[in-house]
């Protein structure tokens, strides 16, 4: 079990990888972000992106999936998130890209009112060429060890 007390500033982790298909990009975008450069390969070719690209919200969703799987592996006692300080999509994500997510702990602080602690992370997703396609600073909440609270 990984509690708040076990999280160290500076620790880094590779969360996992995912290869994204055109079908996935189009399915997500049709449901949530139906802009032509996300849903229609032909229309996308005529835009500034020069081809189909994934919704930034889809890239974030994949990042979340990889985070949940990574947290499960170490049985992290996470309990949600109050938010995200900043999120950038510096390069497009295209069909066939293999995205790898990695995270680094920037800061930790305990809650004054509840038996939890906050962890500020930088999470980056890189494509198969090592280019950053998502850069995010977010906050997650961890449960504290009971014995330390007693």
């Amino acid at each position: 079990m990984k509690y708040f007390e076990d999280v160290q500033v500076g620790e880094t982790e590779v969360l996992g990888s995912h290869t994204i298909s055109e079908a996935e990009i189009v399915a997500f975008a049709r449901k949530y972000d139906p802009q032509p450069f996300h849903t229609d390969p032909e229309a996308a070719a005529a835009t500034i992106f020069g081809g189909l690209i994934a919704s930034g919200w889809h890239t974030c969703a994949i990042m979340m999936r990889l985070s949940v799987e990574a947290a499960r592996r170490v049985r992290a006692q996470t309990t949600g998130s109050p938010g995200v300080d900043s999120c950038r999509w510096p390069r497009p994500v295209r069909p066939g890209d293999t995205l790898t997510a990695r995270s680094e702990v920037l800061e930790t602080w305990p809650s004054r009112s509840r038996p939890i602690g906050f962890v500020r992370n930088r999470v980056e997703m890189l494509n198969q060429r090592g280019e950053v396609v998502l850069s995010l600073v977010g906050i997650s909440m961890f449960r504290r060890r009971r014995e330390e609270l007693a």
Partner: protein, 159 residues
């Protein structure tokens, strides 16, 4: 001439309210199974016993519902071309099945691109509201707008 809203046409301080997105348990679970399979997003019973007291939507699902409302109501008619990202996103209250979401946007700031003459960045403060007018999510989006193309006469006259 098209009547698209270009970078030049966006007015700082402008407020818009739009969207109506009914949140269903089926969709909350479907999104979460795919992208955020934590017990309080996918399992009714486990969610009841969690600190949330029942099923709640993934925060990223709320983000997805937010961009859907923008695509339906705000982006058509606007010369936008995606976004750089966002700042200061906060998930303020749980989103539950049965909630009906809407959006309120306020134009905060316009920043002309130094490197590109054809686009500008518009910072938009957005609030996602539930049926009780409570903000469930707030964020500041960095939206890319195309600049108004010059009429042909001016383009040729400029040289």
């Amino acid at each position: 001439m098209s009547d698209l809203v270009y970078f030049e046409d966006v007015a700082v301080g402008e407020v818009h309210r739009f969207g109506r997105y009914p949140v269903t348990a089926e969709e909350v679970v479907e999104y979460a199974r795919q992208f955020d399979p934590q017990p309080f997003h996918v399992d009714d019973e486990a969610a009841r016993q969690s600190m949330f007291g029942g099923l709640i939507a993934s925060g990223w699902h709320t983000g997805a519902m937010f961009i859907h409302m923008l695509c339906e109501h705000a982006i058509p008619g606007a010369a936008t071309t995606g976004a750089l990202g966002f700042d200061d996103l906060r998930w303020l209250k749980p989103v539950r099945p049965g909630d009906v979401l809407g959006v309120e946007t306020t134009i905060r700031e316009k920043v002309a691109s130094r490197s590109r003459r054809d686009i500008g960045v518009v910072k938009v403060d957005s609030r996602v509201l539930n049926q009780n007018d409570e903000a469930v999510m707030t964020l500041t989006s960095l939206v890319l707008y195309r600049r108004r193309p010059l009429p042909p006469a001016e383009t040729t006259g400029a040289t």
